[in-house]
């Protein structure tokens, strides 16, 4: 049996439980509200129905999550190995907080979550990436006490790309964020009015900014922004390029009631278009970013 079909079958089986449990729960609540409020027998019946429904939903969810884990650890892992040179995929791991905050423009989160770690090379350029979710803790004081909850302020992908172009200062090119660094970043303007409208440029050394952001680079960075919705931020620090895109989505997510077929797999592959575009548009794969022998 085709492995993808096998996963789709398992997925459908898990979804069946949800399909039974969901309406059953609704029916239980409806029964309770319509006739159960004044009738103890119907109260019991609706209660039992609801417990049964909950059981179906729990079993369905557990099976679904198990299937997703199996799919990611085996099927997707192999696929990523095919799509990316030296591709390594660790669904349950992510980049460390130190690496992510190394970009020096993301706000430190109260709750940090990273998953779907991928490393490898595209056109000979080594990179690492993962999904990250950064959340801020909020405390609300009400009449009934204190309520603590978390609000996400960044949900998207984070990339780290190695390159060996030597430069002295640090540079950030950001759509909405601001530097969060101890370095003396200052805002500067590049020659392109359009570029300055799209991105804000911060640097610790003016020369470094003009050295790294050539007119061609400006055009390419604007192309990347145009082709990929979400807030984009670039940082060039210590021979690394960091790229963060806050697009409110996770890559490689298997969704319930969405068919898992070849088209969906092609969609997963297309999720690598961004890093592919960045490497090509910014010409990271050319000599400009290679160490002089």
């Amino acid at each position: 049996m085709d492995p993808l079909l096998a996963y789709q079958t398992k997925k459908q089986q898990a979804e069946k439980y949800i399909l039974i449990g969901g309406p059953l729960a609704v029916a239980a609540v409806a029964l309770f509200l319509l006739v159960g409020l004044n009738n103890s027998v119907f109260q019991w019946i609706s209660g039992l129905l609801f417990v049964g429904a909950l059981g179906f939903i729990i079993v369905g969810s557990v099976r679904f999550n198990k299937m997703v884990a199996d799919f990611k650890h085996n099927f997707l892992k192999d696929k990523i190995g095919e799509w990316i040179e030296d591709g390594v995929y660790k669904p349950d791991q992510g980049l460390g907080q130190n690496t992510v905050y190394g970009c020096e423009f993301l706000q430190s989160a109260d709750r940090y979550h990273a998953e779907d770690f991928i490393s490898g090379s595209l056109d000979g350029v080594p990179f690492q990436m993962c999904d990250i979710k950064l959340e801020e803790r909020r405390v609300e004081h009400t009449k009934n006490g204190t309520r603590t909850y978390y609000v996400p302020f960044f949900t998207g992908q984070f990339y780290v790309v190695d390159f060996n172009k030597n430069f002295n200062g640090a540079l950030q090119v950001l759509e909405t964020e601001k530097p969060r660094s101890k370095r003396p970043f200052k805002k500067i303007k590049m020659e392109s009015v359009q570029f300055n409208k799209t991105y804000k440029t911060y640097t610790t050394d003016d020369h470094t900014a003009f050295y790294l952001i050539t007119p061609q680079m400006m055009e390419r960075m604007m192309t990347v922004e145009k082709n990929h919705p979400g807030n984009i931020g670039f940082a060039f620090i210590d021979n690394k390029m960091y790229l963060a895109i806050d697009n409110n989505r996770s890559l490689l997510e298997v969704q319930m009631f969405r068919k898992l077929d070849e088209a969906r797999i092609a969609g997963f592959k297309a999720d690598f278009d961004l890093i592919h575009d960045v490497i090509h548009e910014l010409k990271l794969n050319q000599n400009i970013f290679k160490e002089i022998a």
Partner: protein
């Protein structure tokens, strides 16, 4: 209050405001001038580095590009670094000479595939490209600063202060695109 006192206070207020504005504008213009000077010295450093890199390349290709070696000798009058008092025009001329030498070498070595494949030669080429990128960055930074100060100088009422403290419009460092195109030969 006596109307004359009120008028005097208003006039005094206006004089104080004008004085503060004058000082602030003067400081801003002076700071911009310093930035232009810093960027100017950045160009000098980059030009000197380019000269050094090119002199190594000339040394390595002497046997293949005699004419270029001779041409290079003509620019060695500034071998120990660029003089402080060079005008922007003279710097552009200097860069033009360097471009001429480099493009001549590029054409000359075309006939010698062994030289083109030589590791030392390739390293020199790479370092020249690197230096050239720094020179372009220095030039763009300088022009950006010049653009900022020139815009301020021609804008009213800053133009009044600029005139009073003798801050004049600065010259841009023009890229000689025709010659640059010749230099950008990849190996």
């Amino acid at each position: 209050m006596n109307p004359i006192v009120i008028i005097l206070l208003v006039v005094l207020g206006i004089v104080v405001i004008l004085g503060l504005w004058y000082i602030t504008t003067m400081n801003a213009l002076r700071q911009l001038e310093v930035k232009v000077e810093e960027a100017d010295s950045g160009i000098d450093v980059a030009l000197t580095k380019r000269f050094d890199a090119l002199s190594k390349l000339v040394g390595a290709t002497k046997g293949y590009a005699k004419h270029e070696a001779e041409l290079f000798e003509k620019v060695t009058k500034w071998r120990k670094g660029l003089p402080d008092n060079l005008s922007m025009e003279q710097k552009q001329e200097f860069q033009g000479r360097l471009n001429e030498v480099q493009s001549g070498i590029n054409v000359a070595v075309e006939a010698y595939p062994d030289l083109k494949a030589d590791k030392v030669f390739l390293n020199l080429q790479n370092s020249i490209n690197e230096v050239e990128e720094h020179l372009q960055a220095a030039r763009r930074l300088y022009n950006s600063n010049v653009s900022t100060i020139n815009q301020r100088i021609v804008s009213f009422p800053t133009s009044i202060v600029a005139g009073m403290i003798a801050v004049a419009k600065k010259d841009f460092f023009e890229a000689d695109t025709e010659k640059r195109a010749d230099v950008d030969v990849s190996f």
